[in-house]
């Protein structure tokens, strides 16, 4: 191939972005996540408003729906990689882009490009809703803490999406990937917090939790946001590397 390599990467990136953007389920997932997040934020806010005035934290209530919100992003990540395998699209992809490692890495990049703004908007909408409803009663928050927390939440959601995409690329089937990831994030992980308190901070989701949770005095914060970011980034990178290695070795 005589295409210069920088142009090659741009072309692959554009192709991957095109594939993601034209996938109807991408938009459906994002829109449904957005709406559900607002509904959950409304529920949490009205529950929070019943508490004593002046004690609630807007950030905490606005981000209380994060636990559920991540499901949408897990599905997004899985869809991005598994949709290649549902109709043999993968063979067309690999015919036009025969460099497997490069192709999969660009796919993650494209996914991150879509996820970052979406995650930011969705996380911010929850906080904004809580802010509007609780302006008068809650503790005043500074704008830079809010931005820091939102950046952390966006980073966490993006890392979760990439991790799910890596698992999707490993398993190559939508249903098992969804079952495995959702049951990890929603069943195994909450339970393991009680059973294995010593190592719980090193799991991808509990480490990521420290990326966006505002430090408070009544909880013992074992990890700083930076440590949390480092650990969950490490998990994501490990899974991405494994996915790429398998992708290069395996028969498509």
């Amino acid at each position: 191939m005589s295409v210069p390599s920088s142009r090659k990467i741009t072309q692959i990136l554009r192709a991957e972005l095109d594939k993601l953007v034209t996938l109807p389920l991408t938009w459906l997932t994002l829109i449904v996540t957005f709406i559900l997040n607002l509904l959950l934020a409304a529920a949490f806010t009205s529950a929070g408003l019943q508490g004593a005035a002046g004690t609630q934290s807007i950030l905490k209530i606005g981000l209380a729906s994060m636990g559920y919100l991540q499901a949408g992003f897990i599905i997004l990540g899985i869809l991005a990689t598994c949709s290649e395998y549902t109709g043999g699209q993968i063979r067309t992809t690999l015919t036009t882009v025969p460099w497997r490692g490069l192709q999969l890495s660009t796919k993650y990049l494209a996914l991150a490009i879509i996820t970052i703004p979406a995650a930011f908007i969705i996380a911010a909408s929850g906080v904004l809703y809580a802010f509007i409803r609780m302006r008068d009663t809650a503790v005043v928050i500074e704008i830079d803490t809010m931005i820091k927390t939102l950046v952390g939440a966006t980073g966490y959601l993006t890392l979760t999406t990439l991790l799910s995409a890596a698992i999707g690329a490993l398993l190559r089937r939508t249903t098992p990937a969804i079952v495995v990831l959702l049951s990890y994030y929603f069943i195994v992980s909450p339970l393991s917090r009680d059973f294995l308190p010593s190592i719980k901070n090193y799991f991808p989701d509990t480490a990521g939790y420290y990326m966006y949770m505002p430090p408070s005095s009544d909880e013992i914060n074992v990890l700083t946001p930076m440590q949390g970011t480092g650990i969950s980034m490490l998990w994501t990178l490990i899974f991405i590397t494994v996915a790429i290695v398998f992708y290069r070795k395996r028969d498509a």
Binding site: L25, L40, A43, F44, S46, A47, G67, Y68, A71, I75, L79, T86, G87, G88, R173, T174, T175, P176, I178, V179, L182, S183, F186, I187, P190, L191, D194, F195
Partner: protein, 249 residues
């Protein structure tokens, strides 16, 4: 009867069904024994507040196996083959062979029911023996009515998953919603903070059959009845929609 056998054979040959069996048979044991180990000291000291829930928590959280079963049973019919092998859907073949749509749906629901009953019995046997193994003489006595409640809970959950998937035709949405909802903090639990009506949602009402001895809202029998009503309503809706819908759409 032949349609029922065919449905059983289709279910057993599904590529994703091993996951349903694996989770259905092993997740409850795993969760129950972890929970028993974590609580062992409190139980021996006699201060455990969750004694009646020992073991059952595994059964409550392990329903995912049958959720996968119910969802896959329908979503596999609608999964389009790859374009290299014609891009067809299994549902067209199935309805060519069993042309009565109601019979088809009943046969499929029957197959799902039978498998989920079997799976729940397996799960109960393994969970009970695991709890006995961990707790020894401190194991609370298991109540037959509650165990039957657990079997019913699993079966109804499988049928709910089945009905929802008939309506959505796509496995992703019901899987996501139902799996998240079996988690420790479920949607219905959150909603019940807002309105008491949420306690009538199927998962919460059904769990009354064998969980929640401390803050009971419905009796086990009414709980089961409420969940059964949900199943019936959903099944009727699914049957009407399925009967009127164009297969190709």
């Amino acid at each position: 009867m032949r349609a029922f056998n065919a449905e059983l054979s289709k279910l057993f040959s599904l590529p994703g069904i091993w996951l349903a069996f694996l989770i259905g048979a092993f997740a409850p044991v795993f969760i129950a024994s972890m929970d028993s180990i974590a609580q062992k000291e409190e139980i021996i000291a006699g201060v455990s507040t969750r004694l009646p829930e020992v073991g059952y928590i595994g059964l409550a959280l392990g329903v995912q196996g049958v959720i996968i079963l119910g969802v896959l049973a329908v979503s596999s019919e609608y999964l389009a083959e790859s374009s290299e092998s014609g891009g067809g859907q299994q549902i067209t073949t199935s309805l060519t062979v069993v042309s009565s749509r109601l019979h088809f749906l009943l046969a499929k629901a029957g197959a799902v029911t039978v498998i989920s009953i079997l799976l729940s019995v397996v799960a109960i046997i393994t969970t009970l023996s695991a709890t006995h193994l961990v707790l020894g003489e401190y194991t609370p006595a298991f109540d037959w009515l509650k165990l039957i409640g657990a079997v019913l809970y699993w079966t109804f959950t499988a049928l709910l998953a089945f009905g929802i998937t008939v309506l959505t035709k796509n496995g992703i949405i019901p899987l996501a919603v139902l799996i998240i909802n079996t988690s420790v903090v479920s949607f219905s639990f959150l909603l019940s903070k807002v309105t008491k009506l949420a306690l009538y949602l199927p998962d919460r009402a059904g769990a009354e059959m064998f969980m929640f001895t401390s803050d009971r809202f419905l009796t086990p029998f009414t709980g089961g009845l409420v969940m059964f009503a949900w199943v019936v309503v959903l099944f009727i809706a699914a049957a009407i929609v399925f009967h009127r819908r164009d297969v190709a759409s």
